[in-house]
Symmetry: C2
Subunit: 421 residues, 2 copies
């Protein structure tokens, strides 16, 4: 069972807040590194195994640089994400460019960086060739459609906008082969925030079987299979974390039966997890600004959904602890709210917490992925700073707080002053 | 019934796109002004009637300046929104500061501007007094709780984080009176995007009855009743727009019976609509970048949920027309998608449209409120420009497109280069 712990003492946190007022996100370098190593170790049987971190989960170049030092690549899906990767010195085949509905300039940039391009659609073959030329190595994204059911978040793959159909994937590789490409990979991703290891084992099995068919049918060789990301994290304290060793072992069995035995080895296994890597090791730290008792008890924080949108957007659970009161009984029911003028701006509904006081520091857990990254400026809210707790215990600011000037950057005040109404 | 029209011809739009590439939002000044005048005219029986435009709906100072010229004030709920109002020359009691979970510096700024402060909670009386002193005129926000049921979006008022309970509202005004305040207003808002006029008539009735009770009980005088916003717009072509004349007439009846007859007149009526004012007169213009046929037909635009989040966030319907093909039969089923690496990045699901070609220009209607305003940078997506179609037919850029440099503004690349991993 997960214990929701925090990597700093009350005193340490007070010192951090002194130099950076709440709210902020803070990431735990040591835990992120341990987690990265653990994943790589679990798949060490597969030579060439690589995790391409899904940059969208935590698009901070400092975090990317740490992950790159651990041997991770980057999974990018937009121009700014490609730039972040390059600045973090992740280039060439250490980048997987998995985009959809892609504009030409993004393919051009991906090509310039030597990224592995993961085509989302059969029509992108011609589009890519025209705008950027064809690369030496290419990947196609497979959508198994009604052949495999997704989980609650992704829904039914046949409804998803991603990937080639089964028929198209045969056509696609044939066309690419006929255009002279010799190095191939294949990709699929059908889960999101899934905690059942079986899901990922089945995903690998689907790809391994398909590789066997495609190889035979088209006489091409696959260098890698990218089973995507989607590994969940235990947001609720009672949940069991997913065991990557079980996933690895299950995939290894399928690898032996479907790849090794069919003479298709070596085949590199790739993943593109985001949430699983940094999610549990990022914390949103906020201050209790107001307590309100009306028809319910409300604890109003100085953070809002601009800092973490998942509870408001998906009704997602994020565990909340109160600094220094972790051992007090959680006997008071609160809606934990932000200040947005939007009724669903709540971090928790009907949550039992220790009785709060104004000025209490609360820690919102599992905010290390899809947290800061999804922040918006609705209602004029500004996005918070990101801090990094380094392995030596020092804290570095890896992204400053947004200012009102940032918020107004796209406005021309001079023009506005002259604007005749 | 609403007809979904656009205020520009195909040729005009082509010229606009030449100077500002898609995607962009474009607002129709003439229609916004007509709509503003229509609202004011409907309530002309009430001396002092004022609409405080909910800035969060379209926080663009150019739009605010136009609305101010029509006699609107601003409803603000954050520091940046107060600054936008001030820059648009809306100050003093032309600002209503309706915030919740409010930080001290925002009360200070609201006071500095002479805004009417709308207190969200009884505890804010002391908080405001301590941080900014008490103003000459004050308003309290009433939450009728289980006494009135909200509609689908707002849900049950007793679950909402906003406002004073019935008991608290009596205590609140008594405390404020005893602290020497003599000018009072009252506010409530229990609906969002509601198309039934009865809702707003009932809201006014609730406030008028409460004013009668409060006046009698506390011997104070109310200057205004703010019935909030929440007027819906007909997002679907078949829907009937809400008739503000019906709302006005209904409220006038209640005013005569509850205010006039009880000797409580004059009482100014305030509203704080956002969506109703600009929503139908803003358009998101985008280009069909890719067409994809897999298990469904997908039309991939160069816009994404960073430009308009309502369909992905709420499953909201936004009407879509294809430039120059308005009269062609809508006989082809599409999911209209954006390029975000997020499966719910869809503007429409299973929407019948004329058969599309790559390069078609699509117009997404009713994007003039809660459109650009809710944009985020998830996945490294950049927010689009805002244009204004002026009354003389000229087009002005009222907000430029976000750049990659804007996106990276909060990062310190120098520090990043020296960052040791």
């Amino acid at each position: 069972m997960t214990q929701k712990t925090i990597p700093f003492s009350e005193k340490q946190l007070a010192a951090i807040i002194e130099s950076c007022p709440t709210p902020f996100h803070i990431y735990d370098e040591q835990k992120i590194r341990e987690n990265a190593r653990n994943l790589i170790r679990a798949f060490s049987w597969n030579e060439g195994f690589r995790e391409y971190f899904a940059v969208k989960a935590a698009p901070n170049p400092f975090i990317i640089k740490i992950l790159a030092a651990e041997g991770f690549g980057c999974d990018c899906s937009s121009l700014p994400e490609l730039i972040i990767s390059e600045r973090a010195e992740v280039t060439g085949e250490n980048i997987m460019f998995t985009s959809n509905d892609t504009p030409a300039e993004e393919f051009v940039e991906a090509q310039r960086l030597g990224a592995i391009i993961n085509l989302d659609d059969i029509s992108h073959i011609d589009y890519l060739e025209e705008c950027a030329g064809l690369p030496e190595i290419i990947c196609c994204r497979y959508n198994p459609g009604p052949l495999k059911k997704g989980n609650m978040i992704i829904g039914h793959p046949e409804e998803a906008k991603y990937g080639f159909t089964r028929e198209q994937i045969f056509d696609g590789y044939r066309i690419l082969r006929n255009k002279g490409i010799r190095r191939f990979g294949i990709h699929t991703m059908v889960a999101s925030n899934e905690l059942d290891p079986q899901y990922f084992i089945e995903t690998a099995e689907i790809l391994f079987s398909l590789i066997a068919e495609l190889t035979k049918y088209l006489n091409i060789r696959f260098e890698f299979a990218n089973i995507g990301g989607g590994l969940g994290i235990p947001y609720r304290p009672g949940q069991q974390p997913i065991d990557v060793n079980i996933i690895s072992e299950g995939i290894r069995n399928r690898y032996d039966a479907l790849i090794e035995k069919n003479g298709l080895a070596p085949l590199k296994l790739f993943m593109e997890c985001g949430r699983y890597i940094t999610g549990p090791y990022g914390y949103l730290v906020a201050n209790v600004l107001h307590l309100k008792e009306t028809y319910k008890n409300f604890a109003g924080l100085d953070a809002c959904m601009a800092n973490l949108m998942r509870p408001a957007l998906y009704g997602a659970y994020h565990h909340i602890t109160v600094m220094g009161r972790e051992n007090e009984p959680a006997d008071t029911l609160y809606d934990v709210t932000g200040s947005l003028c939007e009724n669903n701006d709540k971090f928790a509904i009907d949550r039992k917490l220790p009785k709060l006081s104004i000025g209490d520091i609360v820690v919102i857990h599992d905010a290390g992925a899809h947290g800061h990254a999804m922040g918006f400026n609705y209602n004029g809210k500004l996005r918070s700073a990101e801090l990094l707790l380094r392995e030596d215990g020092k804290v570095e600011m890896i992204r400053r707080t947004e200012t009102i000037d940032d918020y107004f950057a796209t406005l021309d005040w001079g023009k506005m002053a002259d604007f005749k109404v």
